[in-house]
Symmetry: none
Subunit: 127 residues, 4 copies
Amino acid sequence: MIILDNQSRLPIYEQLKNRIAELVLTGVYPPDMQLPSVRSLARELGVNPNTVQKAYQELEREQVIYTVGGKGCFISTNPLIRERRCRETLDRLTAAVRECHRAGIPAEEIRRAVSDTVDRMGEEDET
Amino acid sequence: MIILDNQSRLPIYEQLKNRIAELVLTGVYPPDMQLPSVRSLARELGVNPNTVQKAYQELEREQVIYTVGGKGCFISTNPLIRERRCRETLDRLTAAVRECHRAGIPAEEIRRAVSDTVDRMGEEDET
Amino acid sequence: MIILDNQSRLPIYEQLKNRIAELVLTGVYPPDMQLPSVRSLARELGVNPNTVQKAYQELEREQVIYTVGGKGCFISTNPLIRERRCRETLDRLTAAVRECHRAGIPAEEIRRAVSDTVDRMGEEDET
Amino acid sequence: MIILDNQSRLPIYEQLKNRIAELVLTGVYPPDMQLPSVRSLARELGVNPNTVQKAYQELEREQVIYTVGGKGCFISTNPLIRERRCRETLDRLTAAVRECHRAGIPAEEIRRAVSDTVDRMGEEDET
DNA sequence: GTGGTCTAGACCACG
DNA sequence: GTGGTCTAGACCACG
């Protein structure tokens, strides 16, 4: 469910954050579900507990999860998360589009590349 | 012409690399143009010569510029640079599209966001 | 294991690069072995950490080693390295042969010099 | 007759030295022939006079040429030059062979690569 | 502790 | 003056 890439430039704690946020957004982790404990998840993923801790702390700061002292971490109910996440990914998308434009790629080619990708992913979903 | 952001996660030398690559691609820096010397650019940007040096060396490794010992650095003529740059930016674009898709944003909204951005940048160009 | 020559025209970082690549190729450094840390190797060799860093970074770029952030550097598993290294050394060999030829050394003498060297090294191996 | 490569790691003055030594060895520049003046050769090659000067000085030190004050530079008659040059190129050849051996290339492959190169160059000469 | 980045400043070869 | 290498040493993120 959670796969980390040691080679990536993205720090592990951020990969973990992103992946959990994704699992929340797609509903795989429903509201109020309890997350695995810091130590158990760290053991399972083969990473340092500090790393999991950092991911959890940031997710709590972003209100994706909440902590109950002595109990553990749980998925938030906050409906705004989805909105914010969407806004952020769309921002990254438009930044990528701007960069293509600056690189001199014609508008038509940009649109086509996006359409192709969207179509391909749609098909993958149906599989 | 070259603006650096000390706050960015991107190291300064990489910002510099990207910016010069962009100026080359857009033709602002034409083939065989001499770049400012390591020391003068460092002074101008308020960074250490080593930082500029690192950017120049990576650009040379990527064949964006070439060095003539004791003379200076010059813009490459290599026509493949443009092609490679386009491929890379398009790769980043499709990655961004995939991320939007994974975040659950509908295909129609992705297409619209891209179209809007493309249109807006087209207008900016005409200004 | 690693000996550097301050007098050489070859920069220290390049001597280090070559020597490590050799230790990898000959299997003395096996895949996934951890390299000494930048700082410890620098201390051991009596050079600046930056110099070791530069060697390591170039080796990573050439996929001879890989870096795990915060952990250290490790020998790559990439099997293509061997092939590439062989190609490069053979290229240097044929360049040397061409130079002998241009210097007017007869073909027979070139062949003999090569055979003698090969034989001598074969014997050294058996020692 | 003399072609320089700005991109090469070899300094220009050394390329020039090597090329002139080669022309002497192959008899294209016969004993006592006058070399072009520092300034005229510099102009012709599009390099700094200091560079030609440096090449000439080193060639004189190596007794490949001799200087007559106020007259110019001339090719030496010294017959030992050829011998030394041959020894040096053969040294570089055996160094290259050793490196191939260290890279684990089998003796047979080394011999074959050398033979092929020698044969190919022999044919080029007949052309 | 580990690598990555950066500054400050030196010395060198080349031109 | 130009780039290339190197030292000394700092600070940072990550683990």
